[in-house]
């Protein structure tokens, strides 16, 4: 396990570079992101561990970051003051672009993997905005009407994007649909809806809605999205069946889940980071086959998914986790409020069976 200290700054988000397996960005904030400065670290990995290649300080806290998919040196950050800044890591000190349209904290940024000239942001002001690095204002604003913790482009379709928010809802937008009254909204999936009833069994009880904090598109199955949040539970949804409830339900975290990320290598595996100070690795059970899926008499509605291991080395809330896209499958990095970045191998924490 490789460790780096973000001294004086509490980690909020961590992202591997899509261009280099040895470069990691960390968005961090002083005073737990409550008040004060933010700092974007760009870490380089080498035989001796992790070392900062560069850092950029900002006036307000930083809550998320996303590497440009088009330019290896460019990276955007989400600011507590509602600003979004684009940095070029080959330059010093100042951002090369800055946008201030959001009325409140920007909490997520995500770069379009296909249309590599666009990225999006989501904010506590209840909107998602779509941007181009070379444009001075946003291209489009999508109203969510609820504090939006996470928004993402589909990795499979450049016009499809999703958002999860305080109102316990996963919203899907398709920019090819007419804007008309619904603002490109194509589906709003209630995350807390119970799983589909199985014949011959009592229907599952509904659970109260709770804030959704994070979500991620599966990298292989283009209709599968995982969500998680305050109710400590990870769920997967098939967006072709928005009214059917979750496909897999993965309970286990002891506090809210702050970040989830599907594996870039395996279609059924995802990682989570939680306020319970652990990172956990899960399978949603989709790679196990039908037979195994039925063998869960104690919890028949939860599906065949299960926890495969956990990493408990963080000593504070874990806020970010990301997979390395390159090399041996299983390397990942996590950050947290303990001012530590940990770089570790998921395979080392997986339990047999």
């Amino acid at each position: 396990m490789i460790e780096f200290r973000t001294q004086g700054f509490n980690g909020y988000s961590i992202k591997y570079s899509p261009f280099f397996d040895s470069r990691i960005a960390v968005a961090a904030s002083a005073n737990f992101g409550l008040v004060g400065n933010g700092r974007l670290y760009v870490l380089g990995l080498n035989a001796n561990g992790a070392a900062p290649e560069k850092w950029f300080d900002t006036q307000d806290s930083l809550f998320d970051t996303a590497w440009s998919e088009a330019h290896e040196n460019q990276i955007v950050v989400a600011g507590g003051d509602g600003s979004i800044k684009l940095f070029d890591i080959s330059l010093d000190s100042f951002p090369i672009a800055s946008w201030s349209e959001h009325a409140r904290e920007v909490f997520s940024v995500d770069w379009n993997l296909i249309n590599k000239d666009t990225f999006l942001s989501s904010s506590w002001d209840g909107t998602v905005k779509i941007w181009r690095p070379d444009h001075q204002s946003s291209l489009l604003t999508l109203p969510i009407h609820s504090c939006t913790y996470s928004a993402q482009f589909s990795p499979h379709n450049p016009s499809v994007l999703s958002a999860v928010s305080s109102d316990s809802c996963l919203r899907l937008f398709d920019l090819r649909t007419p804007a008309s009254a619904s603002n490109h909204l194509t589906a709003a999936i209630p995350i807390h809806a119970p799983p589909k009833a199985m014949p011959g069994r009592a229907p599952p009880m509904g659970i109260p809605p709770s804030e959704a904090l994070t979500h991620d598109w599966n990298k292989y199955r283009d209709t599968v999205v995982a969500t998680a949040g305050v109710d400590r539970t990870i769920r997967t949804f098939d967006i072709r069946m928005p009214g059917q409830g979750p496909v897999a339900v993965l309970p286990g975290h002891e506090y809210a889940v702050r970040k989830i990320s599907w594996s870039p290598h395996l279609s059924d595996v995802l990682l989570s980071a939680s306020y319970d100070m652990t990172c956990r690795v899960w399978t949603d059970g989709s790679a196990m086959g039908v037979d195994q899926g039925m063998q869960k008499p104690d919890a028949p509605f939860l599906g065949p998914g299960k926890e495969m291991g956990r990493m408990g080395r963080h000593t504070e809330f874990v806020t970010g986790v990301d997979w390395c896209l390159f090399g041996a499958e299983g390397w990942c990095a996590s950050c947290g409020w303990d001012e530590r970045v940990l770089i570790w191998d998921v395979r080392a924490i997986m339990q047999p069976g």
Partner: protein, 424 residues
Amino acid sequence: MANQAGTNFKAQERLSQVSNHVSGSGKSALLEKRPDDIVVTSAVRTAITRGGKGGFKDTAGADLLVGAFKGLLERSRIDPALVEDIAVGNVLAPGGGATEFRAAALAAGFPVSSAVKSLNRQCSSGLMAVADIANAIRGGMIEVGVGAGVESMSQNYGPGAVSEFSDLLNSYPEAKNCKVPMGLLSEKMAKDRNIPRKDQDAFAASSFQKAEAATKSGLFKDEIVPLTVKWEDPKTEEVKDLLVAQDDGIRPGMTAEGLAKIRPAFAKDGSIHAGNASQVSDGAAAVLLMKRSTAERLGQTIMGKYVCSSVVGVEPLLMGVGPWKAIPVALGKAGISKDEVDVYEINEAFASQCLWCTNELGLDVTKVNPQGGAIAFGHPLGCTGARQVSTLLYGLKRRGERIGVTSMCVGTGMGMAAVWVAEY
């Protein structure tokens, strides 16, 4: 720093966001509007009148219910055929009133397709009826329902209300305690828990004063459906039509000093009397409930949402402590602290128990029954729980507040509480 105050405020907001993530709840989550929320689109009540003397003394309970139902249909303009089930809380009517209440629904304009039941959880029957309908909607059994409550204590109150206990029941001490009259056990509780008469009288006087002020400034007008009923003048024995549009139990100009002169009712050295206990009354109330998505589809005006409720058991002899035990359970389910609640409607069965619960829970007294309570305008047993909903939601709206709790103690040793959010 040019804007230091703004910075502090922002830090505070961020902190509360994070703490909500960890606690899994909080006020902001409670105030969110979700399509599957259970919402109230109309809440009405009749006036509450004095048992045996007041405006409804010659009106059958079921007739009061017809009045409340008609008012509900008129104000909400809901198509009655959409109402799939009606639950009516009632304590004293023979047979639970089940037959009369079904007939009352039909007489009020509900079609035969609207089902009706009566239920009895003593003084919380009205709240139980509302919670029952909310749960039925949440569980998918029905889409639109009415929770109601009614009591004619003029007609049904008396020694016949409880049948004789069998030897078997009497052989278990705690079971036998269930039939100890309310007044006696409250007197004992007031003594045990050290609730001096002076405090009880001050609490009761303030209930009268608040209710008097509220009635004078017309604060109950929104919720009361005026009814015209037959009324026999006790002096002339002449039967005439009477329009009842106001609670008639509220004695004006009541002071703690005035109450201090009243003789104790249950024990010579006691502290409980007619002036610091709830009045015997008649009245009915009804609440229309559905999912938010249904309300929006039907174009109904949303008054507020039902969040959750709790029911607890306590010792039969200490039934008065019910709210003290039930309120924290409901707040826990809603994920909020007691200080985040703007108004508590706690039924004033007796000044002693309501005051004790308020103090023991550490509630801000100014938040409890801001328009007075059952001591001032009466406690028609089965009606009260449904009545509190209209009083609470209209009151919160008027004061520009959001979160409310209704609660009551329940005879034989129980307590109920429910959390509500007003929307306007």
